[in-house]
């Protein structure tokens, strides 16, 4: 009896906690509401299954508890019931997977009008690079990094001459404009994570990864590092400021361009590892 009651308590307690506790995701600030919707679908389907299984167990534990005269039934199989349950499960799984895959398709296909912004991670800080008036980011590689060229711009690439490099400060983004974030790390794995944006992606040394989003509301959001990157991992924070186009342009105009001497010789290193 006690066990059956506790099973009911666990089932209903979990549901109450879900609905009554103050702990929930922060309000969304990007176009990825689809992700939230898919999570909610998943919560409903899995929640119903969880409660159903627990209540059924509670019923069995109470109804079929050992008492004098209670005899268990002998029924090795019930093919019809087993197949029926299998098919219902398959339908439930498909109901979660299908929307998930459609949203994933959107997630990985960047709209053509998205502007690029580079995010560079190193232990334990964030740097950013935005294209200049030419709209193009110059190439870069870890092998070009020196104290004067901290994120490794290619000194011979004319596209990079007008790039805006932001170090140790906020990243500004215009609201309502799709951004393709190009992610690069110079040392270890990091992960660019702004909970309000929902999207996140690892920064992997030796390659460039990406994701895209459209900020949907203005405000200041915190960047967290979400991939263990050494002892400074929790301290690796940054800020994203999403603002109206005019304010964004003002900010952009105030940023300095890096000045790199053309003859800046890069250390001879692995030539086949051009990262971009």
């Amino acid at each position: 009896m006690f066990a059956a009651v506790m099973l009911v308590v666990v089932a209903l307690g979990s549901v109450l906690f879900h609905f009554l506790s103050p702990w929930w995701w922060p309000p969304i600030a990007s176009n990825w509401k689809y992700i939230d919707d898919t999570i909610l679908i998943t919560f409903w389907i899995t929640g119903v299954v969880f409660v159903a299984v627990l209540l059924f167990m509670a019923y069995c534990v109470f109804r079929f508890r050992h008492r004098p005269g209670n005899v268990a039934s002998y029924e090795p199989e019930n093919r019809r019931l087993e197949w029926w349950l299998t098919v219902v499960t398959g339908v439930g799984v498909a109901a979660m997977l299908t929307p998930g895959l459609f949203v994933w398709d959107r997630f990985i296909n960047v709209p053509a009008e998205a502007t690029e912004a580079e995010i560079v991670g190193q232990q334990w800080q964030w740097s950013f690079r935005l294209p200049g008036p030419d709209g193009k980011l110059g190439t870069s590689s870890t092998k070009f990094i020196t104290t004067e060229n901290p994120i490794g711009l290619n000194p011979d690439d004319p596209n990079g001459k007008d790039d805006v490099v932001v170090q140790g400060a906020e990243l500004h983004l215009p609201v309502g404009k799709p951004i393709k974030a190009l992610l690069r790390s110079v040392d270890v794995l990091h992960n660019f994570y702004v909970p309000e944006f929902r999207a996140k992606m690892d920064l992997v040394p030796g390659m460039v990864t990406y994701f895209w989003l459209t900020p949907t509301r203005t405000g200041q959001f915190e960047i967290l590092c979400a991939e263990l990157c050494g002892v400074g991992h929790p301290m690796m924070r940054g800020q994203v400021v999403v603002e109206e186009a005019v304010a964004y342009q003002d900010w952009l105009d105030k940023q300095t361009r890096p000045v790199l001497a053309d003859n800046d010789t890069a250390p001879a290193n692995n030539k086949n590892e051009e990262t971009r």
Binding site: Y34, V188, N191, P195, K200, L228, C229, V231, G232
Partner: protein
Amino acid sequence: MTEIPLGPGGMSADVEDVELYHPHSWITKYVFAQDAKVIAIQYSLVALGVGLIALVLSWLMRLQLGFPGVFEFIDADRYYQLITMHGMMMVVYVLTALFLGGFGNYLIPLMVGARDMVFPYVNMLSFWVYFLAVLILVASFFAPGGPTGAGWTLYPPQAILAGTPGQEWGIVLMLVSLIVFIIGFTMGGLNYVVTVLQGRARGMTLMRMPLTVWGIFTASVMALLAFPALFVGAVMMLFDKLLGTSFFMPTLYSMGEQLKYGGGSPLLFQHLFWFFGHPEVYIVALPAFGIVSDLISVHARRNIFGYRMMVWAIIAIGALSFVVWAHHMYVSGMNPYFGFFFATTTLIIAIPTAIKVYNWVLTLWRGDIHLRTPMLFALAFIVTFVNGGLTGLFLGNVVVDVPLSDTMFVVAHFHMVMGVAPILVIFGAIYHWYPKVTGRLLDETLGKIHFWITFLGAYAIFFPMHYLGLMGVPRRYHEMLESTTYPASAHQLNIFITIAALIVGAAQFMFVFNLAWSLFRGREADGNPWGAASLEWQTPETPPPHGNWGPHVPVVYRWAYDYNVPGAARDFIPQNEPPPAVVAMQGHSP
């Protein structure tokens, strides 16, 4: 289930016995033992010891998370060392070793009606190599710089670079220990597989084996296929660390200088690691599935529902688990088109898994449920496994994983599904088989107190933890620090979790006490105290001596689940009880 395999002339022939190596001294009987049952106890005791260390480590990390800054000796370095060692110890050195080395060794020969494992000497070596791996791992606590703090996933480049604790000695000892462990496991694993395939008693067809054996057998096959990937990864990373190769190391600029690495791929390690790591989840889960099926059936006095489907589900899960590994890497930067494939395979695996859950609860339905301690643990397993399995549907569904990946949601999920759930099965199994191993029952009152604290406490730790992740709290933060993202009340949740963890941890020492106390003072049990049908309960002596069966190896006439068969005299029929027709024939034969 009704066909009767008979020997020539309608007789159940005795199988010719192979002479076992019998120990001549205390050392060969209890230390360098070749009896699978002694090896099982050696494995179990060492694994439980490692488990207690891992428990203390988890206490320390929870103290830091609940009360950051209060315990000055737990700094960031120390915290990362705690989580790394806790994770690796639990996954590999406790759960894998206990299920396969412990339960596998004890139960396979007894359940299939063998006298011992087929390669007893290799079996002995397996344990001692495992013990060596444990010593190497524990030695890293005393090495200069301490154990590695790279996280249990040991991702390079971070694992072998400055900025990560234990990057000098700790990581090397960790990798060497894993390599040694895999060598030891391979010797044991071959034994388990060959014994199941070749060592079964007459009449013990594959489809009459208890699900425990099916689970351990399938897990052993999987482990033999999965561990080599980790082996290779560990060897390559050792080379990167010690010889300066660049398997996993691209051009790097670390701590203000260009390093001499170039051309390697950090993602390659992740693929190798998870090619092992995901099957590993099921290497732990399948034995638990098998064992819990048997616990439920015995204590509900009812045949396991849908046995054949259960067997095929185990095999299907085992096979599918080799094509889902990259669901751990959705946000790793791998080719994003992999997401479609791995999300689909991952969610498909939910179907055989769900079938298993249905069949467990349908075994309860119309049963005669005895709520003894093993059964309580089995029921709690279903609750936590269903909970953790369902949150797996969030994380497996690629786009849903994006916001949740690397958050506390993941920590809560995998602890529920492959931490709490299998450990509840281990407890249930120990309460269940302890009388066979020792001849005495564990104390039932202590057992029930232990159960309720552990089950409700563990649920209170990990259920709310999902919501920390939903709020956006990343995992592997030694403290949450101030944040504009999550509210200050999140910290109160952390304090609550810490208090629950301290209580649950303390309750485990009650279990350890029960193990020791009952060995001498426990109620004496006969050979089959639960009235179970499977072979291990039918040994002539309890505890069974070396060789298990006395003069005659049993002959098997039925499956392991004949409970409350209509018309039967007792509420169970042992697997080796001949049907009336055979008894009649044997009566007439000379």
